[in-house]
Amino acid sequence: MCLGIPAQIVSIIDAGAPSAMISVGGVQRAVNIACIVDEAHTAQQCLGDWVLVHAGFAMARIDADEAARTLAMLAELGEMQAELDAMREGAGSST
């Protein structure tokens, strides 16, 4: 729960919400990006950013090396698949 998962922003869905589509490990989903957007870094500028995602919210921008290392560590901890499955199932699967 506290580790989150790194992912890359592949498109901006709504600069107002603000929300974006992220991609990681073959899974894409919409996340809220309010916590990484400000006047100095607008929603549109987030395209291509690597971010740390917690519970559907991008919480911090990280660099690509950091993202790669964190993904490798999550795989090692055995938490990668569960996180991806949870993201994929999305809105309220009952399994």
Partner: protein, 377 residues
């Protein structure tokens, strides 16, 4: 040093391990009891076990696995209240996967689902909000747990529900906060912890200033740590350097993610939606003043506690459970008579057996070799 070659930058890792050994040796010349270092976050606990870090370190350093696993510390009374909400026919109860297995006094949310309740795992509170939009005739309740890492997600979701006027969504708020929790650990009788590895992702949200009281009032050092094995080792090295020099400071090894001031947007949403409860019940630790939050009056419409008039039941922990003593470092998991017998990962009785981030579950999963007194698991 089985794992070191697999670490990022094994050369640095070896140098850090050597540095830790030198410092520990020097510190131990003027004391007899081992150095106790509490890693506050369950993510660190998991990493320490998975990467066998204790096996790389001098025997004079003991990790005390802290209370930072929010799933582990959920009290049974809260689970019972949540089950009672879930059993109502109009309700779709949603929560993170981790929360589904936590036992209440009679059953867990998984058990409630087997008994016919509509309980669904979601990845994000935003998914619960989407369910509310899609099911206007049902009451969709999100069971929100966790420290400041997950609190911004919940707070921002409640604000979005308010903005959109989604009245059939509500939050059963059981978030907890790190600072009162650390204060309770520091005030525990017999506490002998020498320093703390601070939680990386809680700190990403709250920054490093809230920890200053630990250095100022309790004279203990804290180093905010990342989650890779090398991060944990480097943080430990920084901590020992402080202890060796007689310094007590709040340092940040994880500055690449956790900034000094935290995340302004997240903090603003949290303080708009939540306020401290006078007191909050923990599994294994009893009641801790102002350690939990509830929803402010202006968000009463989205507060499940008000909507379903909950009693906030209190259920005592099983009498033989010694989770509290494990959490404060007074005993090791295997010194509890229930450990691995009545209390196992499949049938957890105590808080620390519930999640893979709990100290007891980690001891079982990774059958520690450095504790000769531990019975083979």
């Amino acid at each position: 040093m089985k794992y070191v070659d697999e670490f990022r930058d094994p050369v640095t890792a070896r140098a850090v391990i050597e540095g830790i050994a030198v410092l520990a040796d020097r510190i131990m010349r003027t004391r007899t009891r081992p150095l106790q270092v509490m890693e506050v976050c369950g993510g660190h606990t998991h990493a320490i076990f998975r990467f066998g870090l204790t096996e790389l370190l001098p025997g004079t350093i003991e990790f005390v696995h802290g209370p930072g696993c929010p799933v582990c510390v959920l009290p049974m009374g809260v689970v019972d209240d949540c089950v009672s909400i879930a059993m109502r026919p109009e309700v779709i109860l949603t929560t993170f996967g981790d929360a589904m297995r936590v036992p209440g006094s009679r059953t867990s949310l998984l058990g409630a689902r087997a008994a016919g309740a509509d309980v669904r795992m979601v990845y994000s509170p935003l998914d619960a909000l989407a369910l509310a939009r899609a099911n206007p005739a049902r009451q969709v309740v999100f069971f929100g747990i966790g420290f400041e890492t997950t609190m911004p997600a919940t707070a921002l979701t409640v604000q979005q529900a308010a903005r959109e006027g989604i009245a059939n969504f509500s939050l059963f708020c059981n978030h907890i906060t790190i600072v009162p929790t650390l204060r309770a650990v520091l005030d525990a009788p017999g506490m002998q912890i020498d320093g703390f590895l601070g939680p990386g992702h809680v700190s990403m949200v709250i920054g490093s200033a809230p920890y200053r009281f630990i250095a100022r009032h309790y004279r203990k050092p804290l180093v905010i740590a990342g989650f890779e094995p090398l991060d944990v080792l480097q943080s430990l090295w920084m901590l020992l350097a402080q202890i060796d020099a007689g310094r007590c400071e709040i340092e940040n090894q994880y500055a690449r993610v956790a900034e000094h001031d935290g995340n302004a947007t997240a903090l603003a949403a949290m303080s708009a939606v939540f306020e401290p409860r006078e007191s909050c019940e923990w599994r294994g630790l009893g009641s801790i003043e102002r350690s939990g939050v509830r929803m402010r009056g202006r968000y009463a419409t989205w507060d499940a506690e008000r909507r379903f008039a909950l009693a906030r039941r209190r259920i005592a922990d099983p009498a033989a459970c010694r989770c509290g003593e494990v959490l404060t470092g007074a005993i090791k998991p295997w010194q509890c008579s229930l450990f691995g017998k009545a209390c196992t990962p499949a049938t957890p009785l105590g808080a620390l057996m519930v999640s893979s981030e709990g100290a007891c579950a980690a001891y079982i999963q990774y059958a520690r070799r450095d504790d000769p007194a531990q019975p083979a698991a």
